[in-house]
Assembly symmetry: C2
């Protein structure tokens, strides 16, 4: 047995005996080396071993921590029906949108970021003292040059070389998705999507008279390329629609090499990729993960995003990097809502330019990661033992899978009466599957409030299981 294996065993024991608990900080590399009289690199090797076993996690600049999550209780790989289907569930989505105004209780259903962070202050100050006259006229249908310039700078972090003229500003990511879908399809076309998938994109598929082909999706690595290839062989799929970085609702980030493989697959079948990167900037990984767009050499990837998750959704500032579809995208954007309001664009551009944005997302990443771990702990403590839960690689939303016989649509009703809200699973399926699943938001800093809500949730679930 090597020195590092030996050390790894002792650390594993300590963790398994509960000496260190999930989320606890482990001793520093330096400290352990001293304690055990081994070299720094031996300790590093031992930690690497435990990391591979998912027992331990490294956090940039903070050291090693006991994982709050282990692979055993990740949600199952999804197995949606293997044929193109019409999207349903609009009623359910509308219901959820409509309860938006309630502020009582703990509302964990909306994918809203923390907007009380102090790092937002410079932007808010700027928004509160705008010169309104600059925002009165019609302006460039592609959006302001100022914002497009800043966006092309930000894109470097995700591996993209984009010119400001390669970008079109939209009213949030929702308009971006909708415009891209309409730009690359004809009515009746089939779109391959992850399953589960964000309900807004599925409803856009429905509204554009398209069919959705849900592809089995792995809770840690995303859409199955094997299943996708099978589907591409069987059906005339027009485009692939994915959220590969900090996926909504599952939270995974597709590994970089898999992103590249997905791009090659699209190339070999000569189809288009619509990539939703809305959570990309609040990945817990630093530097942030590359986009599929970063591998794009022939312009077949349309990248969509917005500041709705990294800053605030109410500003409605989103964008498209439309690749070779620029002209078509410009046309559809023009008919969809003409140009976007200028004032928020200018405020955000300034926020980025002066470094406030970088600072803000750094702050958010750290908070959200901590809050994720606290929520995972609460779930472990209060929800049934057989609960499965995703392990988000970024963002502030998390996917919970309960035992098969628990109906989240009934659960959501019962919980609403107790002032606890969440987004039930069927919203995230084209055809109302995932009835035993739901999505929780953990963006708010008030951890206690959320814990109390999870406790309530646990009680309601227990009451639903009469045995």
């Amino acid at each position: 047995m090597t020195l590092y294996e030996n050390l790894a065993i002792r650390l594993r024991e300590h963790i398994e005996l509960g000496f260190y608990k999930p989320g606890d900080k482990l001793p520093s590399v330096r400290q352990l080396a001293k304690e055990h009289g081994v070299s720094i690199s031996t300790v590093q090797e031992a930690y690497r071993q435990l990391e591979q076993e998912l027992l331990v996690e490294a956090k940039p600049k903070s050291g090693y921590f006991v994982s709050v999550q282990n692979k055993d209780n990740l949600p199952s790989i999804s197995r949606p029906p293997q044929r193109p289907l019409e999207v349903s569930q609009w009623e359910e989505v509308l219901n959820m949108l409509m309860i938006r105004s309630r502020t009582d209780g703990v509302q964990l259903q909306h994918a809203m970021p923390d907007m009380k962070a102090t790092t937002l202050k410079p932007l808010l100050k700027d928004l509160s003292k705008q010169n309104p006259e600059v925002g009165l006229s019609y302006s460039d249908v592609r959006g302001t040059k100022e914002l497009r310039t800043q966006l092309s700078r930000l894109a470097v972090a995700s591996g993209c070389q984009l010119h400001p003229d390669d970008l079109v500003i939209t009213s949030g990511c929702q308009e971006a998705l909708s415009v891209c879908l309409r730009a690359v399809t004809e009515p009746g076309d089939i779109i391959a999507i992850e399953s589960p998938s964000f309900y807004g994109s599925m409803q856009a598929i429905k509204a554009a008279n398209l069919k959705a082909m849900e592809i089995p999706t792995h809770p840690e690595t995303g859409i199955s390329l094997e299943a996708l290839e099978l589907a591409l062989d069987q059906w005339p799929i027009k485009a692939i629609f994915v959220t590969p970085t900090c996926n909504n609702p599952m939270g995974y980030t597709m590994p970089e090499d898999k992103k590249e493989q997905l791009y090659r697959l699209a190339q070999s079948y000569d189809i288009t990729i619509i990539e939703d990167d809305i959570y990309g900037d609040i990945s817990f990984q630093f530097p942030r993960p590359k986009t599929i767009k970063s591998f794009d050499t022939d312009g077949r990837v349309l990248l969509c995003s917005s500041f709705s998750k990294s800053i605030a959704p109410g500003m409605r500032v989103g964008w498209i990097a439309p690749g070779r579809y620029r002209d078509k995208v410009t046309h559809i954007k023009y008919v969809s809502s003409s140009m976007c309001p200028v004032t928020p664009q200018l405020a955000v551009a300034k926020f980025i330019r002066l470094g406030g944005y970088a600072k803000h997302i750094r702050n958010m990443r750290l908070n959200y990661e901590k809050q994720r771990d606290m929520l995972l702990k609460a779930i472990k403590a209060y929800l049934p033992k057989d609960t499965r839960v995703s392990f988000p690689a970024g963002s502030f939303i998390l996917w919970v899978e309960l035992a098969k016989d628990i109906d989240s649509m009934k659960l959501v009703e019962k919980c609403r009466q107790k002032g606890v809200g969440f987004a039930p699973g069927p919203l995230f399926s084209a055809t109302g599957k995932y009835r035993n699943c739901f999505r929780l938001n953990y963006s708010e800093k008030n951890v206690e409030k959320r814990e109390a809500a999870i406790k309530t949730l646990g009680q309601v679930i227990a009451e639903m299981q009469p045995d």
Copy 2:
């Protein structure tokens, strides 16, 4: 001969001899009665006679004026091809949108209102000191209750009883039109439209995979009901799309009884009407004309509008009164761009609530009417004798028809070099007709600048006619 006929003859002579010139104020009723020793009602009868001859116009609270326009030189009734066609002209529209940023010269091409009016000040002040925090979150997908409440109050002036829940807020009128088209059609459907028509709505028809059936349109009373009925008999038309009040680009307001007839026609063929009322509030008529929607008893009219012409387009605040299509419209609005930014909605709602809006449009109506007359004079003075020109019943745009052999696409190029811009006719046709026509904006208060531009225009036209 009656007393009033006698008086009418003398007045007509004075006008025809040039004693009173186009646009001049005529003596007051009281003054004439005294001068000619006749009763007030005799003078009124005489003026009414001359009004019917279109020699004289009454202006509310100001008295009688010599008409600047007479029926002889109105643009011709349009005769578009009588079959459904795909919309082209996107390149031309994009070209015009792209030169938006140039500020040199006199740009008469954009349908932008006067945004320097002092009556806008309360709104601007409010916009400049918003509490930015209220605008950060996701909110009601139908728009804020505050604005929908104010809009339902405004609707009374156009003859409509609307509940706040009968309204959906949109990103300008463009999104309203686009959403309505998508809500009431399937790809491949045929839409009947006026000819000429606003290019934004035609491009929305194109983008929704629909066909446009252009209907002959009268320059004073709008879409021909006879031609429309013929088309309805011949083709499976799904919806009628009209801008019947202060039409863009022709400026006419369809008479109220004709609006009602159009509604009855739609009823008897069981089809939908999409009514664009974007210029309705800046009609020169007071109280403002009724909408087709005001006759709607079965919810088949979808009314679209925005504050882009009555306040400022950059705010992007528009709305739909979708009638029986409310659920479908809400769905398409949600997928199109999710909810609209809250801040401008609240500012506009307050502007309306405190009476600033009513004051502002009163101011604008008076200014625009004066500016229309000044522009008509300039056209008479500087453009060729055979020029035909519309007589807008409201708004700040005017349609010019030149001799058949003059190509406005060439003209626009030549004029651009001299710093004069206008919107060439082919933009307003599905298939690039109206090559000898163009649209001019007269919203700016600087009349001299516009006059100089018309003079330049006249010179360029003269140079284009070598004979």
